[in-house]
Every structure is written in structure tokens, then in C-alpha cells.
């Protein structure tokens, strides 16, 4: 009798134990999913949404256009190159046939300095490389832009005293340093 009672009790508690085990298992699965979700959220890579100061794109474009004047009017870093007015044959030769003189270089570098100064003022603490990255340029375009800037600095240094003023060349080098572009 006692045995049959205990056997009956075991039979009646068995579904309860199974149900409890199921609930515990489901709770554990749910807990792990929550933990995974939480961990996932905590370590998800941040999408960089940093933006450039308003007006920077136009200043970069103007810088590239002036750099382009010493490079036959070619595109620099993916920005449009400089196109001399079609009716000005002298100016066209100056650009397309590299017929410029140190006074032209001085004038163009002064303009480049003006644009670079505004870019640094608007985007304090950022290097030119980071600025160009945020502008959306690829690796090759960034290298092209920075290389051309370094070529321009080397050209201006070579013409200093022959039409390029010391102040113009020195200012370009100082701005390049602020923008993290090595001059050598």
C-alpha cells in the first residue's frame, strides 16, 4: 500500500518536475539571449559619423584647383582640375604648357595658404589626412592630394627669393605642419 502510494506520488510529481525543468531551461535560454544581445550592443563597432565643418568641402576643392594650376590643370585627389578660360591663350599656355613663373607660383601659393588657413581654423586639431578621409577620398586620392601639396612646397622653396616671397613659402610650411603634413 505504502509502496503503491509512493509510486503514485512519484508518477504524479514527474510531469511537474519535467515542466519545471522546461521552464528553467527556457529561462536560461532567454537569459543567455539577453546577455548575448547586451554584450553585442556593448561591443558593436561605432559608425563614425564625424562631419567636417561647414564650408570645408568648398575650401578643399579650391585648394585642389590651385594645386592643379602647377600640374597642367589635372584633377588632384579626385577634385576637378583647373580649366583656364578658352579665350585667354596666354593663361592657357601658362597652365597647360607649364609656362608659369615664380610670381605666378607666389600668387597661387598665397591663395592655397588662404584656403588651408581657413580649413585649419574650421577643423581645429584635425590632420589633413583625416579631413580628406572624412571628405570621402580613398587612399590613392589622399596620397595624390598630399603629394601634390608637398610638390608645391618643394617648388616654392626652390623659387624662394626669385619671385616667391619668404613669407609665402614659410607660411605654407607652417600650415602644412599644423595639418600634420611633413615637409620632408
Amino acid at each position: 500500500m505504502k509502496d503503491s502510494l509512493s509510486a503514485g506520488a512519484r508518477l504524479s510529481t514527474a510531469p511537474l518536475i519535467i515542466a519545471l525543468a522546461g521552464i528553467v531551461a527556457m529561462a536560461m535560454v532567454a537569459y543567455h539571449q539577453l546577455v548575448r544581445l547586451d554584450v553585442g550592443v556593448a561591443h558593436a563597432p561605432r559608425v563614425v559619423t564625424a562631419r567636417l565643418a561647414p564650408g570645408t568641402e568648398g575650401l578643399l576643392q579650391q585648394t585642389a584647383e590651385h594645386l592643379s594650376k602647377m600640374q597642367g590643370g589635372d584633377s588632384i585627389g579626385g577634385f576637378p582640375g583647373f580649366e583656364p578660360p578658352g579665350d585667354d591663350e596666354k593663361y592657357r599656355r601658362k597652365i597647360k604648357d607649364r609656362d608659369y613663373n615664380p610670381q605666378d607660383v607666389n600668387d597661387w601659393v598665397k591663395e592655397i595658404n588662404n584656403f588651408l588657413r581657413q580649413i585649419t581654423n574650421k577643423n581645429r586639431g584635425l590632420t589633413l589626412e583625416v579631413i580628406l578621409q572624412r571628405q570621402g577620398l580613398n587612399r590613392g586620392q589622399i596620397d595624390s592630394f598630399i603629394n601634390t601639396l608637398r610638390d608645391t612646397q618643394a617648388t616654392a622653396a626652390g623659387m624662394e627669393g626669385h619671385g616667391v616671397s619668404e613669407a609665402t613659402a614659410k607660411t605654407l610650411e607652417a600650415l602644412m605642419k599644423v595639418l600634420g603634413v611633413s615637409t620632408w
Binding site: R98, N101, D151, G158, K170, W184
Partner: protein, 164 residues
């Protein structure tokens, strides 16, 4: 006022000096074709120069030359790459670029640590390619061999028994 003498003229800059080079003075470790032609602008030839920059912690030596080649961009790039590698320079493949009209390459010499940067451009209206070459050496200041313990410190004049 310093009069005209036979010493090599140099141009003073705010942070050093600049000396124009003759073509036969071009650094022998950076190859050029047998008869290199310098680039000309509206002002005449752009002569290579040697610039020494004096900084508190280092002296920087930069040689810049701008040359033209009557061949295509690709041919000019390949010639320089092959010749540089033949002379033991190693190309930095993490830098540089190449597009339809321009290219850039960087090299470093494993023995000397000297760096060379080259910018190429195809001039479609002039039908030639130009290359601007910058050779950069950074010399630490004071020189490393003068900082060693082996270098004896010179006595001051009164210590050496010399009356000032």
C-alpha cells in the same frame, strides 16, 4: 657686406640654407638617366637644390630635383622603380598612388635609412612625363657618436692651463 668671392653661393632661409646644384652633383645613390633633362617653367630651368634645415633636435638634408622624360607615364614609373630597386632601395608599398596622369612612389634604403619620394606626372600637351624627386636624410642633433661615453670631454681653457 660680404664681397664676391670664389666660395659657392648659397641662399639663406629662415631655418637654414639652400644651395643650387649642378646636374653632376646629383646624389649618386638616386639613379637618373645618362643625360637627364631638368624641367623648365616660364622662368627657365628648375635646377636641383640641396636644402639644409637646422632644427633643435636634428638637421634635415633635402635634395630636390625635377626632371622630364620623353616617354609615357608608365615607362617612366617602371624605369625608376627598376633602377631604384637595382640600387638597393625598398619601395614602401603602403604608400603611393597611380592614376591616368600621375603617380607617386616612396622608397627607403635599408642600410642608410635615407628616404626618397617621387611624384610623376604626364603632361598631355607637352607629350612628356616629369618626375619630382625628394631625397631626405635626417641627422639627429647632437650627433649620436658624440653622445657616446667613449668621446673624451675637452677641458676648459683654464683647466688646461691656458690663460684666456
Amino acid at each position: 657686406m660680404v664681397g664676391q668671392i670664389n666660395l659657392r653661393p648659397f641662399r639663406r632661409k629662415h631655418d637654414g640654407v639652400l644651395i643650387y646644384l649642378r646636374l653632376d652633383e646629383w646624389p649618386t645613390d638616386v639613379p637618373l638617366p645618362a643625360e637627364p633633362a631638368v624641367v623648365e617653367t616660364g622662368d627657365g630651368p628648375f635646377m636641383p637644390y640641396w636644402r639644409l634645415v637646422f632644427e633643435p633636435e636634428q638637421t634635415v638634408e633635402v635634395v630636390v630635383g625635377w626632371f622630364k622624360f620623353s616617354c609615357s607615364l608608365d615607362e617612366t614609373v617602371i624605369w625608376h622603380q627598376n633602377e631604384m630597386e637595382r640600387c638597393g632601395w625598398v619601395r614602401d608599398t603602403t604608400r603611393g598612388f597611380k592614376d591616368e596622369t600621375s603617380a607617386g612612389m616612396n622608397f627607403q634604403h635599408p642600410q642608410t635609412g635615407v628616404k626618397v619620394e617621387m611624384s610623376f606626372r604626364w603632361w598631355r600637351h607637352l607629350h612628356h612625363t616629369t618626375v619630382m624627386i625628394r631625397r631626405v636624410v635626417k641627422h639627429p642633433w647632437p650627433p649620436a657618436d658624440e653622445l657616446g661615453a667613449g668621446a673624451p670631454e675637452l677641458p676648459l681653457p683654464h683647466e688646461a692651463g691656458i690663460s684666456e
